[in-house]
Amino acid sequence: MKKITYFPGCSAHGTSKEFDETVKMVMKSLDVQLEEIPDWNCCGATSAHTLSEPLSYALPLRNLVLAEKLDNTTMAIPCASCYQRMKVTKVHLDKNPDLSKDIGTTIVDEGTYQGKIAVKSMLQYCYEDIGLDAIKARVTKSLAGMKLACYYGCLLTRPKAITQFDSPEYPMSMDHIVEALGAKATEFDYKTECCGASFSISNTEVVIRLTGKILEMAKESGAHALVVACPLCQSNLDMRQPQIEKQTGEKYNLPVFYFTQLMALAFGMPEKELMFRKHIVPVEGALAQIGKIEPEPEKVKKPKKAVEAESEAE
Amino acid sequence: MEAAVNNQLVSIEKPEIVAPPDWEPVIIGILCNWCSYAGSDLTGTSRIQYPPNIRIIRVPCSSRVDPWFLIKSLQTTADGVLVSGCHPGDCHYISGNYYARRRFLVTKKLLNFVGFHENRVQFSWVSAAEGPKFAKVVAKVTEDIKKLGPLHLYKKENFEK
C-alpha cells in the first residue's frame, strides 16, 4: 500500500464534493492511502496573489511545512487552483531558499520548509505515479462507446516552468487516462482555452462567451461529455450551460464529469455513489452511450506497389 | 555555473598596522590587453574618475600572470595587487582566463594562509566595454587596501633598486 499526502482544498468540502469523494474511492481501490494534512489552511487562490505577494507564498508555505511533517514523499491535490498555488510556492522556494525566512513570519510559523515533498495534481499523480497500466488493469466496466472531450483548463499544465508536467498547449495525459478506461478521447482543440472563471461573478458576459465557445468546440469534436480535473472548470462548464444555451440558442447537453468519477465508474463502483445527481446537466444521455460501439469503417488496403522505407526518412 | 569558494579562513578586518597620516597605498594592476586594458582605456576616454593609487601593467592575457608576479609585488613595492582579465568565455585566447582563475584562487588562498589579508590580492573580470566597472573595481580595491594599512613585512628590507 502506498501512502501520499492529500490536500483537499476548500471546494472539495463544498461545490466539488463529488470530486473529493470519487478521488477517495478511486485511490482506495488503487491501494493508495490518502493522508490529509491536519489543520490545513486556505491556499490563497485568486485573491492572495493579486493583493500581496508575501501572503500568496505564506499561505501555501504553511501547508507545505505541515505536509512535510507527515513524512510522505508526494502530495497530491485535486483542485487545480490549490495545486497551482502550492507548486508556484514550492518552485520559488526551491530556487530561492532565503525566501522562506522572509515570508515565514507572515503567518503562524509551523517550522522550517525543507523542500523534500513533491507537489502533484491528482491528474499528474494518476498519470505518472499510478500509471496507465495499473488503471487499465483495474477496469471492470469499460466505457467503450463514450466519446469524451478532455478539458484541462488554464492551470494544470501552465506555465510549463512551474508545472513541469505534460504539454502546456496540447496536453494528453487525461486523454490517455480516459482511453485507458475504454472511452474515446476526441480531438479537442479548446482543451486549454480560458473559460473565464475569474469573471464568473463580476463579468458574466465574458464567461458566457468564452465558456460557450468551449462547449461549442467540444460538441463539434463529437463528444458526448466533457471531462475535467478542476472544480472551477466543472462548475463553470456545468452550471453555466443552461444560461449559455439560452443565450446562444444552441443545445449542447454536455455533462461535465470529473475524471475520477469516470475512473470510479469504470472500476465498477455503484453509480449512485458517484454523486451524479449533483450535476446540473443530466448525465444519463452520455452514460447511455456506453456500450454503443460504432463499427469502424474498414480501411481499403492499397495494393503494394513499391517498397517504401519511410520510417527513418526526414 | 559559478560555484562558491570553499575553505574560509579567519580574517580580521582591522588594519594590520597603523598607517602614517600621509600614507597612500601603492596598488599594482595587471591587466590583460584585450578586455581589461581596453576597459581601463575606456574608463579614461569616458573621463570616469577613480583613486590614483593604481599602477597598471599590461600583459597579453590573464593566463600570462604567473603567481609569483603577485608574490613579487607584495614582497617589493605593492600594498595590494589587482589582476583583471576577460570574462569567462570571452578570452581572446580561447581558454587562458580559465587556467588563470584556478591559479588565482590557489594563490589568494595560500597568501591568506601565510598571513596576508585576502583583500591584498584581488581579481576581476572587466570587459572592454566595462569602463565604469573598472573604475568601481579600482575604487573598491583602493578602499580595501587603505583599510588594511601599509604592508611592510618581508618588504624592501634587503632589496636594492
Binding site: - | A3, P88, R101, R102, L105
Partner: protein, 286 residues
C-alpha cells in the same frame, strides 16, 4: 611491517633474469637504527637490502635525472612514492619500459622517535597505484576513503590573521636557503631551477626572510596539485621547517574547490593547474 626477505628475493630474481641493471631500495646506515637509500648494482650485494617501517625516504627522487634513459631500474615504492612516480611518468621524466616497480602495501612508516608519521596516519592511498609486482600479492583494493583534512592545517587555519603571519614569519626567518627541500623533492626535477637562473629576477638578496618567503611560496605553488605528501623535504630540512603545511594547504584548497583528485593518483593527470572546468569557483572574482 618487514618485507626485507621478500625484497631480497625479488631483487635477486630480477638480477638473475637480467631484467634490471640497478635495484634501488633501502639499507641500514651502519651506525644507527635508521636506513638510507641503497643503489645495488652487484647481485651479490642484494643481502644489504632491508625494508621495515623505517624505510621512510621516497626513492623516486633517484629517477629525477631520467636514469631510465640508459639503465633498467628496479625500485621499491610505497603508496605515496608510487604517486610521485605516476607524475614523473605523466610529465615524461622516466621511461616506464625501463622500470621494474616493486610495490609495498604500506602500513605507514615512523619518524626518528618511532612514532608513526602523521602523513601516514592520514594517508588514503597506502597501496601503490602503479607497480609491476607487489611483495604481498596484488592488494584487494577497495575504494579510496574520503579525503581527510590535515589536522595541522586546521590548527593553523583556526588562528587569526596576525597569529598566522607571526607564525609564518618565524618559518621564513628560520629558512637558510640551502635548497635541501628542492633537492630531496622527487617532483623538483627541472634541468635548471628557476632559482638558479641568472636571467631570472625571481630572487633579490640572499638569505633573508623576504627571499625565503618568495622562494618557499613560489616553490609550493610550483608543487600545488603535484605534491604527493611524502615529506622528503621536511626530513631533509636542517631547520626542521613545517614545509608540509604549505603543500597540504594547497592540496586541500584544490581538492575542495576544483574537486580534483590527489596528485599522481591517475596516470595522465598533470594536476589542477594544467586543466580547468567551466564550473570552477568564480565568486571570488569581482
Amino acid at each position: 611491517m618487514d618485507y626485507t626477505n621478500q625484497i631480497r628475493e625479488i631483487a635477486s630474481k630480477l638480477f638473475a633474469e637480467g631484467k634490471i641493471d640497478v635495484f634501488v631500495g633501502y639499507r641500514m646506515t651502519g651506525f644507527d637504527e635508521n636506513q638510507v637509500p641503497a643503489l645495488i648494482r652487484d647481485p651479490n650485494e642484494v643481502s644489504k637490502l632491508v625494508f621495515t617501517d623505517k624505510s621512510v625516504f621516497n626513492l623516486t627522487n633517484y629517477l629525477k635525472q631520467d636514469h631510465t634513459r640508459n639503465k633498467r631500474i628496479g625500485m621499491v615504492v610505497k603508496g605515496c612514492d608510487s604517486r610521485a612516480l605516476n607524475l614523473l611518468l605523466t610529465e615524461s621524466q622516466v621511461k616506464r619500459e625501463n622500470l621494474h616497480i616493486v610495490g609495498i602495501p604500506c602500513k605507514g612508516v615512523v619518524d626518528e622517535n618511532g612514532n608513526k608519521m602523521q602523513n601516514c596516519i592520514e594517508c588514503i592511498f597506502p597501496n601503490p597505484v602503479v607497480f609491476d609486482e607487489m611483495v604481498d600479492g596484488t592488494p584487494t583494493g577497495s575504494e579510496a576513503p574520503p579525503y581527510q583534512v590535515n589536522t595541522d592545517i586546521q590548527n593553523i587555519a583556526a588562528m587569526d590573521l596576525v597569529e598566522r603571519r607571526a607564525y609564518f614569519e618565524e618559518v621564513f626567518e628560520s629558512c637558510i636557503r640551502c635548497n635541501a627541500c628542492r633537492h630531496s623533492c622527487p617532483m623538483c626535477y627541472c634541468a635548471k631551477c628557476c632559482i638558479d637562473q641568472e636571467t631570472s629576477t625571481l630572487y633579490h638578496g640572499a638569505n633573508t626572510t623576504s627571499s625565503a618567503f618568495h622562494a618557499l611560496m613560489t616553490w609550493s605553488l610550483h608543487l600545488a596539485g603535484r605534491c604527493v605528501d611524502c615529506r622528503n623535504c621536511e626530513k631533509a630540512c636542517p631547520s626542521h621547517l613545517p614545509l608540509h603545511l604549505l603543500h597540504k594547504w594547497n592540496e586541500q584548497v584544490i581538492y575542495e574547490n576544483f574537486q580534483e583528485h590527489l596528485a599522481g593518483v591517475h596516470e595522465g593527470d598533470r594536476g589542477a593547474f594544467y586543466k580547468y572546468s567551466m564550473k570552477d569557483p568564480d565568486d571570488f572574482i569581482m
